[in-house]
């Protein structure tokens, strides 16, 4: 009865052998194509992505480290520059002081020299004047005396000693 009624029916746990063949071939084809052309690239892409992310992180870390190092370097340089600037300023200050002292000393020297020269000149001029005055006064006195006496004593050389003596007497009297 069961067999007769289910002549077209098939026991579900018994495989149809054509389907076994079809399934094997179809699945083998699927495996071949995908395993050959797609999956290796997928794993490669997977790895590439991991690398890209890890590499990116590493690069970022390296960049960070480098930036920190540069910052440190700049800080050190800045500090160095600051001390240098301070040193230069101090040097300049002491240099300026030195120069001032030099100039001052030179000026003082110069003024001393000028004063000395002036004094010397004055003394020379005074000596000249005195000498000229002495001859002039002598002449005048002799002229006056000759007018008074009535005779010319001018060319009498021995009178000259008299005039000089007189004038020396005057000088010493004046100095006293």
């Amino acid at each position: 009865m069961f067999i007769a009624a289910t002549d077209v029916e098939h026991h579900p746990l018994v495989p149809i052998w054509q389907e076994l063949v079809i399934g094997t071939i179809a699945f083998a084809l699927l495996c071949f194509v995908l395993l050959k052309f797609v999956m290796p690239r997928m794993e490669a892409m997977y790895q590439a992505r991991v690398d890209a992310i890890e590499g990116g992180l590493k690069r970022a870390e390296a960049a960070q480290a480098e930036a920190n190092q540069l910052l440190e370097q700049y800080r050190a340089q800045l500090a160095e520059v600051r001390t240098e600037a301070a040193k230069i300023r101090d040097d300049a200050r002491s240099d300026a002081e030195g120069i001032r002292q030099d100039i001052l000393a030179k000026a003082r020297e110069e003024s001393d020299r000028i004063i000395a020269a002036g004094k010397e000149q004055l003394a020379a001029e005074r000596a000249t004047i005195v000498r000229e005055l002495r001859t002039e006064v002598g002449t005048l006195a002799v002229d006056l005396a000759s007018k008074i006496v009535g005779e010319s004593l001018a060319d009498e050389a021995r009178r000259k000693g008299t005039v000089d003596r007189f004038l020396s007497g005057l000088e010493s009297a004046g100095a006293r």
Binding site: H10, I16, L20, L30, C31
Partner: protein
């Protein structure tokens, strides 16, 4: 009894095994099931080839979907079950997983409405591949003798117990594993289709009833069919996941050094 109902309403009732074996399209080689399998293969090849035609580091939408499947299988199945040794199996597992998911989902695709995996031939093919794979890997890694010893003999057991344990272990490792792998997938898809048939066809049968009360009640039957269709999506994904996870687990134990 059933013949009378069918003739009366034009609805085959009750659903039977015969519903799983539609007439051949053209001979035993061109059947609805065969065509569906080829369709699944074609769709998967087209999808993955298109999605990975020009892969970029920052993926586009299709590439992202393809990589999500790969990432799920690679990290959540292969690596979870086998550690880092599993990564080299991830490509095959991905193909296996996407093939099972797609063929399972055919069960609720309008126009197809049955999963190829509800014919046991296809789960048998997939389970056989997993079976051969884990046997081959085990024998290649350990050699035939030590692989058998490792599989059959539980260390630290009093020796008379082995008379009992070795047959059990043999049954467990070499018979039950491939059998359950195939039957689990087949039975889930078979039962799922049967449930959908019961509620959908049942709805039509109730609608054709003379009794108004029964006609109105058919709404619940259809509602249940819709609910079960969503449930089938869950089962489809879950069974694919289970199949691949168990395959990974079996290969993992073949590679492992202890029993």
């Amino acid at each position: 009894m059933s013949g009378q109902l069918v003739v009366a309403q034009g609805v085959p009732w009750p659903p039977s095994v015969g519903d799983f074996y539609p007439p051949n399209v053209a001979g035993p080689w061109v059947t609805k099931f065969g065509i569906m399998v080829w369709l699944a293969v074609a769709l998967l090849i087209i999808f993955f080839m298109l999605a990975y035609r020009k892969p970029t580091l920052v993926p586009g939408k299709a590439q992202w979907y393809a990589e999500s499947v790969y990432g799920l299988v690679r990290d959540n199945i292969a690596r979870e079950q086998m550690g880092n040794a599993g990564i080299r199996f991830a490509p095959y597992f991905t193909v296996l997983f996407s093939f099972i998911v797609l063929t399972n989902l055919f069960g609720i695709v309008p126009g197809l409405q049955i999963s190829p995996n509800s014919h046991i031939a296809f789960p048998i093919v997939l389970a056989l591949i997993s079976y051969v794979m884990y046997l081959y890997i085990g024998v290649r890694k350990h050699g035939l003798g030590s692989y058998l010893k490792k599989s059959l003999i539980i260390p630290g057991v009093p020796w008379p117990m082995h008379f009992l344990l070795i047959p059990i272990e043999f049954l467990q490792n070499f018979i039950n594993r491939p059998l359950t792998l195939a039957v689990r997938l087949f039975a889930n898809m078979f039962a799922g289709h049967l449930i959908l048939l019961v509620f959908t066809l049942g709805g039509f049968v109730m609608l054709a009833s003379d009794n108004v009360f029964i006609q109105v009640s058919s709404v619940f039957s259809f509602a249940m069919a819709i609910l079960m269709a969503f449930f089938e999506v869950l089962v489809a994904l879950l069974q694919a996941y289970v199949f691949v996870t168990l395959t990974a687990n079996y290969i993992g134990t073949s590679l492992a050094d202890e029993h």
